[in-house]
Amino acid sequence: MIPLTVPITEEEIRSLKVGDAVGISGVLFTGRDVVHKYLHDGGALPPGVSFKSGIIYHCGPVVIQDEQGNWKVTAAGPTTSIREEPYQGEIIREFGLRGVIGKGGMGDRTLAACKEHGCAYLHAIGGAAQVLAECIKAVRNVYFLKEFGSPEAIWELEVENFPAVVTMDCHGNSLHKEVFAASQAELAKHV
């Protein structure tokens, strides 16, 4: 497993290729449907928050608050990324992201943005909410909680050895495109 620590350099991310297993440590920001549309529509990140050289995680976690007001993430797997396809490429460019964690893969526009700006799509295991929540060591902050609701808020999370697989790299390769083409050809033989 290749260790990947945020902030990530362009050189580091460009050295990764499809099929590499990575273990991510450092700070992640969650962001899903509402956040992507908001940023794409020209919305600003809260003061003090920067995605530069960082990672956005397509995730709406289950978070509970104890009596002292501390947040605890009790389940945190990835959500389906393709819904962010209309926005992701521009957000990678605009905010300087080096990584996008999600599931299911993304389309050609995101793949092109990954190549151009030095970003990779890191596939986490969908549904593995417990394994992934265990890698979250602390909740540092939450933004837009009231406006967007808990799953859609931006959660600032500290993670250690968060497991993911590179399925779209900076060199124009996408495992998702490969598997789709191969399975489509195989299906043609069966129908």
């Binding site: 099929g19 297993a21 509402v34 995730c59 709406g60 976690p61 289950v62 509970i64 009790t74 389940a75 945190a76 797997g77 959500t79 389906t80 393709i82 599931k103 299911g104 893969g105 596939h123 295991i125 969908g126 549904g127 593995a128 909410a129 417990q130 394994v131 929540a133 265990e134 967007f148 609701g149 808990s150 799953p151 859609e152 497991p163 697989v165 399925t167 495992l175 998702h176 490969e178 598997v179 789709f180 191969a182 399975s183 489509q184 195989e186 299906l187 069966h190 129908v191």
Partner: protein, 322 residues
Amino acid sequence: MNQSQRSKDVRSLPRLPPVDTESLTTYDFKMQSLRASLLELVRRTSAEIPDDVQKAILDSLENEKKGTIAESALKIIERNIEMAKQKSQPICQDTGSIILYVDCPATFDQITFEEITREAVREATKKGHLRQNSVDSLTGLNDGTNVGPGSPTIHFHQHRSPEIHVRLILKGGGCENVGAQYSLPNEKLKADRDLKGCRKVILDAVLQAQGKGCGPGILGVCIGGDRATGYEFSKQQFLRTLPDRNPSHELDQLEHDIFKTANELGIGPMGFGGKTTLLGVKICAANRLPASFFVSVSYMCWAYRRQGVVLKPTGEIDKWMY
């Protein structure tokens, strides 16, 4: 239709014969017991995968090629299932649409049951068994309770037994989004109005769902019906267990054929490539209009959350159904 019109129509309904109340069991719910039972049903459904599904996942792990990312995905899935059960925390953070199927006798008080279910859902959300998962579609607001129009959804069905069966499915949004409804004939897929045509569109749904619906998945399919009942019956197939057999010979064959063929496509867990694309296929048929021929496909992710309880007349859990 205005209110008075509607009342008049209801009054004009033919009178039903009087009910012989002596022969019927009465239901004296202790609110507290029923609420606790439903809360426990939600907790267990969210945290524990049914045995038949866990077995299918373990079998597929055995079968997957060693050292591949497909195998490592299944290993993480296996570990996740164990952890969720042990920690009593959600298997998946998307705790899904809350869909209840209640089989009950004619005397059953559905109104009270529904009220208590809503309370149990609020409570389960506070405790973190359910994510704050229900959003007002017009305002975008999430009040954090999981209770609102359409949530939870309860399907009541009367049966000639004094028992109360409550089955719960929590179905995540990722897999719900890849459900598909085809209207036959479908020229693009060269699918005619026959079982061969049904097979083509069902396999197309598997191809299109790859990666996005958290495979390996389980298909629930309805051939026929209208657009609403087609999807509804397709979802009800998820109440069946994976090893069960379809009583209809044709459908049983079709289930096995789709299962075998889909697992030869090389889509694999999470769409990473590999041998395990589906864990099961369940198909039913409903009558259709001569003009319509729908094939409705619902997709369930590997995090197949399905549980059920038989309740005592007082509302306590008598036994678990799966």
